[in-house]
Amino acid sequence: MSTTLVSNAPRRAAARAAARRADLTGWLLVAPALLAYTGFVIYPLATGIQYSFYDWNGVGVATWVGLDNYATVFTNPNLLGAIGNSFVLIAFFTIIPVGMGLVLATLIRSMRDGLALRASQTILFLPQIIPLAAAGIAWSWMYAQTGAVNQILGWIGLEAITRPWLADYGTALPAVGLIGSWVLTGLCTVLLLTGIGKIDTSLYEAIRLDGAGWFREFITITLPGLRQELAVLVTLTVIAALSTFDIIYTSTQGGPGRATLVPGLLIYRIGFTQSDVGLAAAFGIVMMVLVLAVVLPIQRLSRASDQ
């Protein structure tokens, strides 16, 4: 008994020293990543917050204006309109792709893993691989007066509604939104299909034997089984909708008029074309807070339903 006590003390001291050494090593290993993150994310974020309180044209003297820039963000109809547009885009970036993905994944879940399924996955994934800027270029050509969309409408006898879709005030925003649906539907379908694959098939057999139709099956088994995947997809696609830039930049440049103006494009214009750095920085901060305000409740909801 006494011998163990005596021999334990130095061993514990040694263990503590080892733990301290491990702490030090850990911090040394994190240091480079932390440095890159602090230097090029945290620091710019801090300077962005600082700029947002000043009136500054980027070269001259900056004047402190307090919360004026934020007041402009929330009162200027242009800026508010851009925020509104980005929320409209959620319908096309989130609701359509996730909805289509759910329908498709539910209907093809019984497909056997073979060449056809794998080829389908590959094709559905293609839009995810090409740059969004290229998608914007491809689709502006699709939507042109002489483009494929009008041509196909003509084939099915709908000449009456043909138009240059991106140049029309009423259709430009939905048309741009559908580019987002095109990009994201494949990702949603493939992810949801993988999720359905993890649901216990005996649940499906049980409910079918119980005489349930496809709707009850969908509500009581498929939806609850996919809630983690759904939370992820909604988060990803909402962020994509609120921070669209590439697609708009190469397709409409925010036009016609302000019909497709979004926050990302406005930040770029206000900051670099109009040289109102303070306002652009404030808009950037508001945009970040908006994304957080939309995304955090989704995460909270999915966590809560996990328990």
């Binding site: 300077t47 800027a133 270029i137 699709m142 042109a144 041509q151 997809l233």
Partner: protein
């Protein structure tokens, strides 16, 4: 599995519709690219006399060699550095779990939702102050930082699942920390690292906002960022614009087709973890 016949048929039909809709814009780019360069093509129609020479013209007019070189340079700077520092940090946060690692993890995770657009104004003036503005470094440094939240989170998720007994056994055998890391941890982490490599490659190659804002000369950007230059260059010719855009997306598609299994797996896991 019990499924009704109608369900199967409706499912197949919808799948085919989705596949066709996915492919049309891409095929439309190809069919437009093959039309005579001096004429405006009409919709979806296969040209009677495909002008493959358009690709050669677009390649030369668009300075594609220089662009690919510039993109490759940016990728070769961003991806390896991000991989190394994220793996080390992921090992520290997931494997060593030293004091303070939970707080650090939260600091990194918070960065996951920051849109690049929110930081672009300060990044511009930071690059100006550092003297990197209008060089590839203006994109390289911020991208490494901006990729850290996801990359660290990703690598930590791997290391946190490695059984602790493994490293304890190695320590008992008298292995030093770095020996344990290189001989045991690193080989086990290879699948996670290669998935991250694919993701970082595609995200860098397709990066648009940073190069457009931070590098004035389009020829020093990534290929995606140079697409705006193509739009100006081929303003008068839809066939050449489409040919140029196709040339630019081909490398990414090739990488995808080569590694598609790992790729889809990586993107799906990345989505769930992120």
């Amino acid at each position: 599995m019990i499924t009704s016949r109608t369900e199967v048929i409706v499912g197949r039909v919808l799948l085919i519709v989705a596949l066709v809709l996915t492919l049309i814009p891409l095929l439309n780019m190809l069919s437009a690219a093959l039309q005579p360069a001096d004429r405006n093509p009409i919709g979806l129609s296969w040209p009677s006399d495909p002008q493959w020479v358009n690709f050669v013209t677009a390649f030369e007019v668009g300075n594609v060699w220089r662009l690919m070189g510039s993109s490759a340079f940016i990728v070769l700077c961003v991806v390896p550095v991000s991989l190394v520092i994220a793996t080390l940090a992921g090992y520290a946060l997931g494997g060593l779990r030293m004091r303070g690692s939970r707080a650090l993890l939260i600091v990194f995770v918070l960065g996951l939702t920051i849109p690049f657009e929110a930081l672009i104004i300060p990044l511009y003036y930071q690059a100006q102050a550092l003297g990197t503005l209008n060089t590839q470094w203006a994109v390289v440094f911020p991208l490494i930082g901006l990729f850290m939240p996801f990359s660290v989170f990703w690598m930590r998720a791997h290391f946190v699942n490695v059984p602790r007994e493994l490293s304890e056994a190695a320590r008992v055998d008298g292995a030093r920390l770095w020996q344990e890391f290189f001989r045991i941890q690193l080989p086990l982490a290879l699948p996670a690292i290669s998935a991250l490599t694919i993701l970082l490659f595609i995200w860098t190659w397709n990066q648009f906002l940073l190069p457009v804002v931070l590098i004035a000369n389009p020829l020093d950007r990534t290929v995606a960022g140079a697409l705006t230059f193509f739009q100006g260059q081929y303003y008068a010719s839809i066939p050449l614009l489409n040919a140029g855009a196709l040339i630019i997306i081909v490398p990414a598609i090739l990488v995808f087709l080569l590694f598609q299994r790992q790729f889809i797996k990586a993107l799906l896991q990345g989505a769930v973890k992120g």
